[in-house]
Amino acid sequence: MRLSEQSRLNSQISYLSQATERMDTIQRQLSTNKKIQRASDDPSGTAQSLRYREDIAFEAQMRRNVENGTAFLNVTESALSGATDLLQRARELTVQASNGTLGAQEKAGVGTEIDQILQQMAQIGNTKFGDAYIFSGHQTQQPAYVVTGQPPTVINYQGDTGQRVRRISQQDTVSSNVIGSDAFGNIMNQLISLRDNLKNGAPATTINPSLADIDTALNNVLNVRADVGARLNRFEATSSRSADKDINLQEMRAGIEDIDLAETIVSMTAQQNALQAALGAIGRTSNMSLLNFLR
C-alpha cells in the first residue's frame, strides 16, 4: 500500500497516544490501587462492588448497634447483680429477725438496715445509662421509681412497659432494656412494710411472710438476669458472625475493586517497553528519506 506522509504521521500519533493512554490507565490504577475507577470500567463489577460496600457498611452498623446494646445490657446486668446482693442481705436479716430470738431493740436495728437496703434498691431501680433511666421503659427521662418520704413510705414504679428494640442483623431485632416492674415487682414496698414491722417490734409470725416475698423477688431478679445473659450471648454471637461476614465481604470487594499489584506492575513494565519501542521506531523511521541519498 502507498503510504502518504500524512498517514504515516497520523499512525505515529495514534500509536503514541494509545501507548501513553495505556500507561496512564496503569499509572492511575497503581496510584489508586483500584481496577474500577468509574462504573464504565466494569459495569457488572460495579454493581457487585456497590452491593458489597453497602453490606459492609450495614454490617459495621449492626456491630455498632450490638456494641451499644451490649453496653446498655451490661449496665442493666450490674444493676441487677447489685439488687441480688441487696436482696440476699435482706433475706439473711429477715431470717435472723424471724427466728424469735431478737429483742425489740435488735429488731429495730435490723429495721434500720432494711431501710438502707430498700433505699439502695430504689437507687438501683433508678440507674442511668447516658441520658436514660434504664428501667423506665420508654419513660427514660424520668426516674423509674418515685420515692415518697424520708425515710421512704411509698416507692412506686412510674415507667411504662416500652421496649427499646434495635436491629442487630438483616433478620433480627432485639430489645436491649429490662422493665423495672418486671425485674423488681413490688419488693420495694414489701421491704417498706418489713422495715415498719421490724421497727415496731412485730412478732416473728408477722415478719415471716416477708421471707416468701424476698424469695419471690430474688427468683424474679435471677430469672431476669438469666434473660439478660441470654441476650448478651446473642449479641456476642451476632457480633462475631458479623465480623466474620465482614472479612468475607471485604475480600470479595477487594477481589472486584482492587488491582493485583504484581500483575499490574508487570503490565506496566510491558507497556513501558512498548512505548519505548514505539518512540525508537518513530525516531529512526522519521529520519529516513530519499533526500538523504540524493545530491
Binding site: 459495569p43 456497590l50 460496600r53 452498623q61 455498632r64 436514660a132 421503659g137 427521662q141 411504662d160 427499646r164
Partner: protein
C-alpha cells in the same frame, strides 16, 4: 518537415516537464494540508492516436509530435470518499454521545468513598444510632448532618446533570452555526468551481476544499450529496436540501415547545424539524433528549421514593418535644429534596417514638431504618397506581399500604377471579398470582384488606371506611383503573446501584461504539491517504525524473542546433 519539428517537440517537452516539476513542487508544498489530494500531470504523446495532426514522411514513416501536458488531475477515489464520510458520521455521533455520558458518570462518582451510595449508607447508619439512643441529642444532630449531606449531594447531582443538558443545548446551537457556515462556503465553492471549469481548466484545489467541507458536514450530521452535470454539488441534510447549486439553505435554532428551555433545529425554508440519523448532532441530541433525561428521571424517582416512604412513617411518629405529623424530608424530587427546616433547627422534633412522652422509644426510627433493607412503595408514581391516602369511593380511603420484602420490584395488578376474592398479579393483569385476598365488609371505621400467599402476608391495604364498606364495593373500587396497580420499588440502595451500573454499561457501550467507529474511520482515512496522500519520496523521484527529462529535452535542442550549424555553416563549402 525538417529540423524545426524536432525543435518544436523539444520545446513542448521542456514545457511539459517544467509543469511536472511545478506539480511536484505543489504536492510537496501541500504535504501537510488537510484534504489535499496529490496531483498528477497527464503526459500524453501527440500524434500517435490518429486524432491529432501528425507528420508523415514518405521515407521515414509516421512520427509523433511530442508530448502533451495540458491536464493536471487530482488522484482521488470517490467511492472511498463516500465510505469514509459514512464512518465520519458514526464517529461524530458516538463520540459526542459518549462524552456527556462519561461526564454524568463523574457526577455520580461511584464506586468510591465519597459517592452517593456511601452517603446513603451513612444516612441509614445515623438512623440506627437514633434507634440505639433515642434520647441522645448527639445522635439526632448527626442524623441532621447525614441527611443534609445526602440531600445536598442529590441536589448537586441533579443540578449538574441539568447543567449538562443546558451545555448540550448550547452545543446544538454551535452545530447549527457550523452547518450554516459550511453550507454557505460550499455554495460559494460551487460557483467558483463552475467558473474555473467552464473555461476548460481544472479546479483541483477548489474541489479539494469542497470535499473537505463535505467531510466536515458528514461529521456534523448525516448528509447525502450528488455532483450535478454542471459541476456543482447538491447536499441534503436529513430530509431537506442544504445546498443547491450556488444557493445555501440554512437551519435555524428555535425554542422547542415540547421541551421547555431546550431548542430544536428547523429548516429555515419551511420550518420543518431537522431530523438526522447520525453525526455529532444526533449524538448531542440523543444525550440531551434521551440519556440525560432518563438519568434525571431515575434520580428523581429515587429521591421521591425516599421522600415519600420516609415521610409516611415519620409523620406518624412523635419527637422528644411531642411534635408530630412533621415531614422528615421536604421537596418532591432530586432538585428539591431537603431536610425539613423545622427539624434542622430542632433535632429533638425528629420523630423517633410511636407516641407522645416516650423519650426512650425508637420504634419509628427503626421502621425508617428498615427501609434500607426492604422494598418500598414508589411515591408519586404513575396515576394508575394505588397510593396512600387515595380516596377509593365516597367516604372510603386507602390509609396505608405495606408490602412484604419478599416481593420483587415491579408493578402488581389487582384482579378479581370471583366475587369476594381479589388476586395480586405480578407484571400485568395476566401475570403470575403472588397473593389472594378474601374480602369481608369493613366499617364503619378502619380495617384492612390482606393479600396472602399460603400463610405469609404479601401485601396489606389499610382502609378507613365512612360507613359500611361492603365486599362488593371493595372489589369494584380496587379493580377500577386508577387503583388497580401497586408499584413496588427496589430498596433504595439497590435502586441507586442499578442507576449507576446501568449508566456504567451505557458509557461502556457508547465508548466502545465510538472507538470502533473511530478505528473504522481511521482505516478508511488511511486508504484514502494511500490513494490521495502525498509521499515525499515519490515526489522527489518524480522531480528527479522530470529534471532528467528536462535536461534531455534541452540536449535535444543543443543537438538540433548543432545539426543546423552543420547544415548552414559546414555544407556547401566545396571550392570555397
Amino acid at each position: 518537415m525538417g529540423l524545426s519539428l524536432g525543435l518544436d517537440i523539444a520545446v513542448k517537452a521542456l514545457r511539459a516537464h517544467q509543469l511536472a516539476v511545478d506539480v511536484a513542487s505543489h504536492n510537496i508544498a501541500n504535504v501537510q494540508s488537510p484534504g489535499f489530494s496529490r496531483q498528477r500531470v497527464l503526459l500524453r504523446p501527440i500524434g500517435m492516436d490518429g486524432s491529432d495532426h501528425f507528420s508523415r514522411d514518405a521515407l521515414l514513416g509516421r512520427t509523433g509530435f511530442g508530448v502533451d501536458a495540458s491536464d493536471v488531475n487530482r488522484v482521488r477515489d470517490l467511492f472511498l470518499d463516500f465510505q469514509a464520510r459514512q464512518t465520519m458520521s458514526s464517529r461524530g455521533e458516538y463520540g459526542s454521545f459518549s462524552q456527556p455520558l462519561s461526564q454524568a458518570e463523574v457526577v455520580f462518582n461511584d464506586p468510591s468513598d465519597d459517592g452517593i451510595s456511601n452517603l446513603l449508607g451513612k444516612f441509614w447508619a445515623a438512623w440506627h444510632d437514633v434507634v440505639n439512643d433515642p434520647e441522645s441529642s448527639a445522635a439526632r444532630t448527626s442524623l441532621v448532618h447525614a441527611t443534609t449531606t445526602l440531600t445536598s449531594r442529590l441536589q448537586t447531582a441533579n443540578a449538574e446533570l441539568t447543567q449538562q443538558r443546558a451545555d448540550l443545548n448550547f452545543q446544538v446551537g454551535s452545530i447549527a452555526d457550523q452547518i450554516n457556515g459550511k453550507a454557505e462556503e460550499l455554495a460559494r465553492l460551487n460557483l467558483q468551481v463552475k467558473q474555473v471549469e467552464l473555461s476548460g481548466d481544472k479546479a483541483n484545489d477548489l474541489r479539494d476544499r469542497r470535499d473537505l467541507l463535505l467531510d466536515d458536514l458528514s461529521k456534523l450530521g448525516d448528509i447525502h450529496y450528488v455532483e450535478q452535470p454542471d459541476t456543482s454539488v447538491s447536499v441534503y441534510l436529513g430530509s431537506h436540501e442544504l445546498v443547491v447549486g450556488t444557493a445555501a439553505r440554512t437551519v435555524n435554532q428555535v425554542q422547542d415547545p415540547a421541551q421547555p428551555g431546550m431548542t430544536k433545529l428547523v429548516y429555515a425554508l419551511d420550518g420543518d424539524d431537522v431530523s438526522v440519523s447520525s453525526g455529532q448532532l444526533k449524538g448531542v441530541l440523543d444525550a440531551r433528549d434521551v440519556a440525560l433525561p432518563d438519568l434525571l428521571a431515575k434520580l428523581n424517582t429515587f429521591a421521591s421514593g425516599l421522600i415519600g416512604s420516609i415521610n409516611t412513617i415519620h409523620q406518624a411518629g412523635f419527637g422528644l418535644d411531642n411534635s408530630t405529623g412533621l415531614q422528615f424530608l421536604t421537596g418532591t424530587d432530586a432538585s428539591t429534596i431537603a431536610l425539613n427546616s423545622v427539624l434542622a433547627g430542632s433535632p429533638q422534633s425528629i420523630a423517633a417514638a410511636s407516641g407522645a412522652n416516650k423519650a426512650g422509644d425508637g420504634s419509628i426510627a427503626l421502621a425508617i431504618a428498615n427501609l434500607q433493607i426492604a422494598p418500598t412503595m414508589i411515591a408519586g408514581a404513575a396515576a394508575a397506581n394505588l397510593v396512600v391516602n387515595e380516596s377509593l369511593s365516597a367516604g372510603n380511603t386507602a390509609t396505608g399500604l405495606s408490602i412484604s420484602p419478599t416481593l420483587q420490584p415491579g408493578s402488581y395488578f389487582i384482579t378479581s377471579p370471583a366475587p369476594g376474592t381479589l388476586e395480586l398479579r405480578y407484571g400485568s393483569a395476566a401475570g403470575a398470582v403472588v397473593g389472594t385476598a378474601t374480602l369481608a365488609p369493613i366499617g364503619p371505621g378502619s380495617g384492612a384488606i390482606t393479600f396472602v400467599n399460603g400463610a405469609t402476608t404479601v401485601a396489606t391495604i389499610n382502609v378507613a371506611a365512612g360507613g359500611l364498606y361492603t365486599a362488593a364495593q371493595q372489589e369494584a373500587d380496587l379493580t377500577a383503573a386508577g387503583n388497580n396497580v401497586i408499584s413496588v420499588q427496589a430498596a433504595p440502595g439497590a435502586y441507586y446501584d442499578n442507576i449507576v451500573s446501568v449508566l456504567g454499561a451505557d458509557v461502556n457501550r457508547a465508548r466502545g461504539l465510538a472507538e470502533s467507529s473511530g478505528m473504522l474511520n481511521d482505516h478508511l482515512e488511511n486508504m484514502r491517504q494511500a490513494v490521495s496522500g502525498v509521499n515525499l519520496d515519490e515526489e522527489v523521484t518524480n522531480l528527479n525524473a522530470s529534471q532528467k527529462a528536462y535536461q534531455a529535452a534541452a540536449r535535444v535542442i543543443t543537438t538540433i542546433d548543432e545539426m543546423l550549424d552543420t547544415l548552414i555553416n559546414r555544407t556547401g563549402v566545396v571550392g570555397r
